[in-house]
């Protein structure tokens, strides 16, 4: 996989694209490929690991996009916390007798059709809309972002912290065993 991406990078540079474009293409390909693996692979543990790869590539795309703080939060929260949580939940809910012969439900084909339709509609809407964007990325400094976050958005910030506390308490309450119930 590394050799393939390396060769792809060299080819892209030889084709006359600069490094930003090459990085964007490689990260986008890795992200979409691993996302497809997440939704199609048989072994659910491998699905979780492919999801970590997908989140890592997305963090790289955030860096290319000029948002390093979002990339750091992505790595810490998604790869560090949510993926580990999901892997633990997978290991808690794996059944030994039937590791799910069928990965997909009976509605897999309509689901695939609807997903393709959603993608096409989104792409058409994006292509048809003028967003009044600037041709060059705005690189936002982290101190400017923190000024905005802790001045204008300090109330949502505190509400999010209360929400996280409530989610932790609720998660513990939901997942704990009842005393005397089936273990």
């Amino acid at each position: 996989m590394g050799a393939v991406t390396g060769i792809a990078a060299i080819m892209l540079v030889l084709l006359g694209q600069d490094w930003g474009d090459a990085l964007f293409w490689i990260l986008a390909a890795v992200m979409l490929g691993s996302a497809l693996l997440v939704v199609t692979m048989h072994d659910i543990i491998r699905c979780g690991l492919a999801m970590m790869v997908c989140f890592g590539a997305l963090a790289g795309i955030y860096v290319v996009l000029g948002a390093p703080l979002i990339a750091a939060a992505q790595v810490i929260v998604y790869i560090g916390a949510i993926s580990v949580l999901i892997l633990f939940a997978i290991m808690l809910t794996q059944t030994k007798d039937a590791p799910s012969r069928l990965v997909f439900q009976t509605q897999a084909v309509p689901a695939a059709i609807s997903a393709v339709v959603i993608a096409v509609i989104i792409a058409l809407a994006i292509a048809a809309t003028d967003w009044h964007e600037v041709p060059e990325r705005i690189r936002l400094a982290t101190d400017a972002l923190s000024q905005v976050l802790f001045n204008d958005f300090v109330l949502p910030f505190e509400i999010v912290s209360v929400l996280l506390l409530a989610a932790v308490v609720g998660g513990v309450f939901l997942a704990k065993r009842e005393p005397g119930g089936p273990s």
């Binding site: 996009l65 979002i70 999901i86 069928l102 990965v103 897999a108 990325r137 400017a144 513990v172």
Partner: protein, 103 residues
């Protein structure tokens, strides 16, 4: 290509579509939660892309993306706790066997 908003938006739309396919098609409840995370990440990528290409937004795009990441963490916690609680009662993670209300 890395300097055009459309490329990032189409990428986020593709990620959202892949996530919606996984949510609709997978049998395992945890796979469905992973697909929801993929869809959330797709939306988050579009928010950050808007913040990086539209000057009128200023820093608000990045702030909203950070909030979305925090709320997604809360959602994953509660969702996985619910899946574990259901698994403890039904002994299976497959959602098409959660048919108690249709019997």
């Amino acid at each position: 290509m890395s300097n055009s908003l459309d490329a990032y938006l189409i990428l986020s739309g593709l990620l959202f579509a892949i996530g919606s396919f996984g949510f609709l098609a997978r049998r395992n409840a945890i796979s469905m939660l992973m697909s929801i995370e993929l869809m959330l990440n797709g939306v988050n990528l579009s928010i950050v892309a808007f913040g990086a290409f539209i000057p009128a937004l200023g820093a608000q795009g990045s702030v909203i993306a950070l909030m979305v990441i925090a709320v997604a963490a809360a959602e994953a916690t509660v969702g996985l706790a619910i899946v574990i609680a259901i698994f403890r009662n039904k002994k299976t993670p497959l959602v098409d066997e959660y048919d108690q209300m249709s019997q």
